[in-house]
């Protein structure tokens, strides 16, 4: 049995390679009738072929004549037409403007001749898009594509409808709750010192849940004090409380705590655009309180172009009085914390852009 399964290929090929199965009746009749019509088509096609060849040739010669007649060469005589024809075609290959000046009929013919030269061919197709049957071939795939995307869109909108339906029901319940509850909770912030803050809720509830940075939750009263000692930077404080009607409400606030360590606030921009529009005109380094500060800017040849020893003095993209070339510059920032003797160094590449916003 398992052997058999391993030799599925052989079993099928042995049984079916030279299998003979009598076809149902009636096939031969349709074959022979199809054959006679096919041969008829074939002979008529040959006849058509020659007709088309001659029509094509005559149209081509007529078109060439028309082209020569209409070409902007009023001095061309009938005798020189043959020579002029060759020249004309060559010129249309080389001089696009002249080609565009032709009447539309000629434009359609000439690109066919120059079908090997890319630009003109495309131009010809473009100019003839609305008229020729070629245009249909051109547009058809797009339509198909659009059909596909329409289907997809339909599916998408269907799923969206479902989503919005469920969304509506959710909203309904929320709206009903909102009819009973008035959301008016907010937090008042008061700085008590360098890093100590007092938060006051406007509610009178006893059970307030204070959350700091989505990590620490403290249960407290309407008034809450918190010290961000040694935690400089941005802190999010949120409050969840119940009002007298028993409705839940939340409020949120942000405090920015100045830090002892300068790197908490350290920020060096990625680029500067010194064009006096007030946006990123100079390289403003953001940094906390420092005991020492040194900013050096080097160009790509490692030449120093700027130096500053105060965070207030920023680089404006100039080396002395000369505008620096746009490009990449290296910023080396040295600083030390207040009361410390250790210098720390930060390096960063910044981009100097000109001619942009």
């Amino acid at each position: 049995m398992s052997e058999e399964l391993n030799h599925i290929d052989q079993i099928f090929s042995k049984a079916l390679d030279n299998a003979r199965i009598d076809p149902p009746a009636g096939v031969w009749e349709s074959v022979s009738s199809g054959m006679s019509s096919a041969t008829a088509v074939k002979t008529s096609f040959v006849w058509f072929k020659s007709i088309w060849l001659w029509t094509g040739l005559s149209v081509l010669s007529l078109a060439t004549g028309a082209y020569l007649y209409l070409s902007p060469k009023p001095t061309a005589t009938l005798a020189s037409e043959v020579k002029g024809g060759k020249q004309g075609i060559k010129q249309s290959e080389n001089q696009q403007p002249e080609f565009y000046n032709q009447s539309p009929e000629n434009r359609q013919v000439v690109p066919e001749k120059n079908s090997n030269t890319g630009n003109l061919n495309i131009a010809g197709k473009m100019s003839s898009l609305p008229v020729e049957s070629e245009a249909a071939d051109y547009i058809e795939p797009k339509i198909q594509h659009a059909g596909f995307s329409d289907e997809k869109l339909e599916v998408l909108s269907a799923t969206k409808q479902i989503e919005t339906k469920s969304g509506v029901s959710g909203q309904d319940s929320r709206q009903q709750a909102a009819l009973q509850c008035v959301h008016s909770l907010h937090i008042t912030v008061e700085a008590l010192g360098q890093s100590k803050w007092r938060f006051t809720s406007n509610g009178r509830s006893e059970s307030c849940y204070w959350n700091i940075n989505s990590s620490e939750t403290i249960r407290g009263g309407a008034q809450f004090e918190y010290s961000f000692e040694g935690k400089g930077g941005i802190h999010f404080v949120s409050l969840k409380a119940k009002n007298l009607q028993g409705c839940d409400d939340t409020a949120r606030t942000v405090v920015v705590v100045q830090s002892e360590s300068p790197e908490t606030m350290l920020f060096i921009p990625d680029y500067l655009t010194p064009n006096a529009d007030g946006i990123n005109d100079d390289l403003k380094v953001g940094i906390g309180p420092v005991g020492g500060y040194n900013l050096l800017v080097f160009d790509k040849f490692n030449r120093q172009v700027f130096m500053s020893s105060s965070p207030e003095t920023s680089w404006n993209g100039k080396a002395g009085f000369i505008d620096c070339e746009p490009g990449v510059y290296t910023v080396v920032l040295s600083y030390k914390t207040v009361g410390s003797a250790n210098w720390k160094t930060v390096r960063k590449s910044v981009l100097l852009k000109r001619g942009e916003e």
């Binding site: 079916l16 299998a19 096919a38």
Partner: protein
């Protein structure tokens, strides 16, 4: 009847080329069973096979003048049949090489053990395969083409061909295993 059974292939073909109606009928009678078996293998149902056979014979008579009497005439006929079947399936506008049906246990449940099965039963099994599996399995296992050739013929990736063959075998196995279960 003027044309006897003993008539040689070459004479028959030449007679057909002269648009001899009797010779054409003779040729059809002689080779249609072989051709029909091929069409059945590549089709999803006997109706499609019938249409394929018709198209194949129209093509055969149309291109008979291109047969150079160099190889076997039957081999040439078979190749024409296979190409016709491939074209036919292409025209059916099915996406044949998509990943189809991973769970196909529900498809089996008939026929006995493979070796005891006749050509008709095997063809029934083949016709149950998705068109992509069926085509690749036919071309590889029965016609004896390599994966590279199949990939070229079907305008697919060589790896796709391998995957399709593997899946076809697996599916055929599943048919047989299922039929065993149903027997027990």
């Amino acid at each position: 009847m003027a044309i006897t059974v003993d008539i040689t292939e070459k004479d028959l073909v030449q007679a057909c080329l002269r648009q001899d109606g009797k010779a054409q009928t003779q040729l059809y009678k002689k080779y249609s069973p072989v051709m029909f078996a091929i069409c059945l293998r590549y089709s999803a149902n006997p109706d499609n096979a019938k249409d394929m056979l018709q198209e194949a014979f129209i093509r055969v008579f149309d291109r008979l003048d291109k047969f150079r009497f160099e190889g076997s005439f039957e081999g040439w006929l078979k190749r024409v049949a296979v190409t016709t079947c491939l074209d036919f399936n292409k025209k059916l506008k099915i996406e044949p090489y998509a990943e189809e049906i991973d769970n196909f246990t529900h498809l089996g449940a008939e026929a006995g053990v493979l070796s005891q099965m006749g050509a008709n039963d095997l063809i029934n099994l083949l016709q149950k395969l998705p068109v992509g599996y069926r085509t690749v399995f036919n071309l590889f296992a029965i016609e004896g083409y390599g994966h590279a050739e199949i990939a070229q013929m079907l305008e697919i990736n060589e790896n796709t061909s391998k995957t399709q063959l593997f899946k076809a075998r697996k599916m055929l196995q599943a048919f047989v295993l299922n039929s065993d279960k149903s027997i027990e």
